[in-house]
């Protein structure tokens, strides 16, 4: 198919710790299409975060190739990667990673600042996304004044504000209670229904159940890759 968003070929990541080399990711071949909702699962230390960091262009692979939207990004420079992250990728982190001293609105505006969007347009788009995640009345609040669920929704709004091709979430519900987790997952599922491509890392099966496809990693390689039965039948 020609709407492939992610394609990796023999993606590898080694960490050298003194005399020892940790093979965190040992050759992953994966294709993810537009409008997919994929949950990456696997035991602790299986390389999920390492893989996600490479997909998110935060890290470069030791070996292998990675195309994002048809562009070979595994060979880009730091600043080119920064631009790709800014334009094509939205991140949602387990620990939210909001700027504590800035308002929700300013936090959501951040990616637009680095995209060079003018202040009025920036404000408009940030407000729109905050309203979309149901925080229209909390825009001037700062993260420490918000609940975990609210913070994660600010993070989701921030991840979406650049209209990225790909939304990446590494254990987005890891710091939330189960009710709040479900709310956030409903939000992501709704976004996916509207066409957003999502790649999610989780330990929990009920969280992975929101996705349409599951990829299981073990020791840095894909162990299983299958469709959730309730999900769409495309492949």
């Amino acid at each position: 198919m020609n709407d492939v968003i992610i394609r990796t070929e023999g993606l590898k990541k080694d960490y050298v710790l003194g005399a020892e080399t940790v093979h965190a990711v040992r050759g992953v071949d994966l294709e993810i299409h537009r409008n997919e909702f994929v949950a990456v699962m696997g035991p602790s230390g299986s390389g999920k975060s390492t893989f996600m960091n490479m997909i998110g262009c935060l890290d470069t692979p030791t070996a292998g190739k990675y195309w994002l939207n048809g562009q070979l990004v595994s060979e880009l420079t730091d600043d080119e990667l920064a631009r790709v992250r800014n334009k094509a990728i939205g991140f949602v982190f387990q620990t939210f990673n909001l700027l504590p001293r800035a308002s929700a609105l300013h936090n959501v505006e951040l990616p637009l600042i680095y995209a060079g969007v003018g202040s009025r347009e920036r404000r408009r788009r940030a407000q729109e996304k905050l309203q979309m995640v149901g925080l229209g009345d909390r825009m001037e609040h700062k993260p420490p004044e918000m609940s975990g669920g609210q913070r994660q929704r600010v993070a989701v709004a921030r991840a979406l504000v650049n209209d990225p091709a790909l939304l990446l979430a590494d254990e987005p519900t890891g710091n939330l209670d189960s009710t709040t987790s479900q709310e956030v997952m409903e939000q992501l599922a709704a976004l996916n229904r509207e066409g957003q491509t999502i790649l999610l890392v989780t330990h929990e099966h009920d969280i992975a159940a929101y996705a349409k496809r599951q990829v299981h990693l073990r020791d840095g390689i894909i162990e299983k890759d299958f469709m959730n039965h309730h999900g769409g039948a495309e492949a």
């Binding site: 960091n53 998110g56 935060l58 890290d59 730091d78 600043d79 920064a82 631009r83 992250r85 800014n86 334009k87 991140f91 982190f93 990673n97 909001l98 700027l99 001293r101 951040l110 990616p111 600042i113 680095y114 995209a115 060079g116 003018g118 202040s119 921030r158 650049n162």
Partner: protein, 409 residues
């Protein structure tokens, strides 16, 4: 657009911790304030001396003892004697008006008052050389000079210096003909000078003039040494000739062979100005150098706090990078922050420097002048310090690995 946003971010970081920002910039504040105050002092002194030298008149030549070099050893000052002045007067065929000057600060008392004044032992010609004029009474005569008589001519402000608060009790009329004590020696006041104002060279407003002979033998303990001999010509045109004559007469007086270095120096206003300027410049540079070092120390303080700031905000840097900030963006943000800190310190320092200069003028009566160039140099310097010492922390921030930065606790 992006640059403006990044500047706002840097400013917000400073605003978030104003106290720390001010403490951090204390070094810069002190450094810049020191530069401003020191240069203000130097400039003030220069202006004052310029005015004084100007008012001294272009006709006046001052002969001073030179510092002699003998066998490479820097020797004590050579001496000038009254007989040198005598020779100049006798042998210049009326071209020169001459007066020796012996001076010393002494305690003066009259009635229940006392004050400190500079006592000048001079010839009657001195008043003509410096164009001083009498307000009351008379100058001393040749006879009084020969007789070492204890007579004194007072500068215009001596009375008010003596009387202080109750100056109404001490009028020029009332003191004329009365006896004052200079270093315990009685002197009859025979004249009082007109005020010359601030620009008067070597007073004369605060000073007391007595015959040279009296000063040397009755006040300064038989010490024959003069501080200078002052000479004037009728017009500036005769100065070249006067120089030649002075040189010839003084060399003979001091028994110098042709080719020997002169053991005296002859100054006129312009020369004194340039000598003073040179000394003043050296001093200003020296002090400005010391101030510069404190700026440097301030800069190291800035670097230190910027490194702390980078470490504290490692996570923030990670977030910004993850969201698309380039190395350049991050570097710029931290450079602007340290630059802003230093310029803030610079501006505060200029304010403190102005204040210090003002206080020195008010309380120590030192003339000061804050030159615009000093302000701009100091600000420029502190900006330079901000850039220089901000560079390393900013580079460190820019080079942080986004993943490690995000993981930082």
């Amino acid at each position: 657009m992006l640059i403006f946003e990044i500047i706002m971010v840097a400013m917000a970081a400073i605003r978030a911790n104003v106290l720390r920002a001010v403490l951090t910039t204390l070094g810069i504040i002190i450094g810049v304030a020191a530069v401003i105050a020191v240069v203000a002092l130097g400039q003030g002194a220069q202006r004052r001396v310029e005015a004084q030298i100007q008012s001294m008149g272009t006709n006046v030549l001052t002969i001073r003892p030179n510092w002699g070099h003998f066998g490479g050893v820097r020797n004590v000052a050579q001496r000038l004697y009254v007989r040198d002045a005598d020779a100049l007067k006798r042998e210049s065929n009326g071209l020169l008006t001459v007066s020796p000057v012996a001076s010393s600060g002494q305690q003066v008392t009259y009635s229940r008052w006392n004050a400190h004044a500079e006592i000048y032992g001079v010839w009657p010609e001195y008043f003509a050389i410096h164009d001083h004029h009498l307000a009351l009474g008379r100058y001393f005569t040749e006879g009084e000079l020969q007789g070492r008589r204890r007579v004194a001519v007072l500068g215009a402000n001596v009375l008010s210096n003596l009387a202080g608060q109750d100056s109404a009790a001490l009028t020029p009329e009332s003191i004329l003909g009365q006896t004052i004590q200079i270093r315990g020696v009685p002197f009859v006041v025979i004249g009082i000078l007109k005020a010359k104002g601030e620009s008067g060279f070597q007073g004369p407003d605060e000073d007391i003039f007595v015959p040279t002979s009296t000063a040397l033998y009755r006040l300064f303990g038989g010490r024959e040494r003069l501080s200078s001999i002052e000479v004037s010509t009728f017009s500036p045109k005769e100065q070249e000739q006067a120089y030649a004559q002075i040189d010839q007469i003084m060399r003979r007086q001091h028994r110098l062979r042709p080719g020997d270095d002169a053991d005296f120096q002859v100054f006129n206003a312009a020369q004194m100005m340039s000598t003073f300027n040179e000394t003043n410049k050296t001093l200003t540079y020296l002090l400005a150098g010391i101030a510069g070092i404190s700026l440097l120390v301030g800069g190291i303080g800035i670097m230190n706090i910027m490194l702390v700031s980078v470490t504290e905000r490692t996570r923030e840097i990670g977030v910004r990078k993850a969201l698309g900030a380039t190395r350049q963006n991050i570097m710029f943000q931290f450079l602007v922050e340290s630059l802003a800190l230093c310029v803030l310190g610079g501006v505060l320092g200029v304010g403190v420097g102005f204040l210090a200069a003002h206080l020195m003028t008010t309380f120590a009566q030192w003339q000061t002048y804050v030159a615009p160039y000093a302000v701009f140099t100091a600000l420029g310097f502190s900006a330079g310090v901000g850039l220089f010492f901000g560079m390393w922390p900013a580079r460190r921030a820019a080079r942080l690995d986004p993943i490690e930065a995000l993981r930082y606790e």
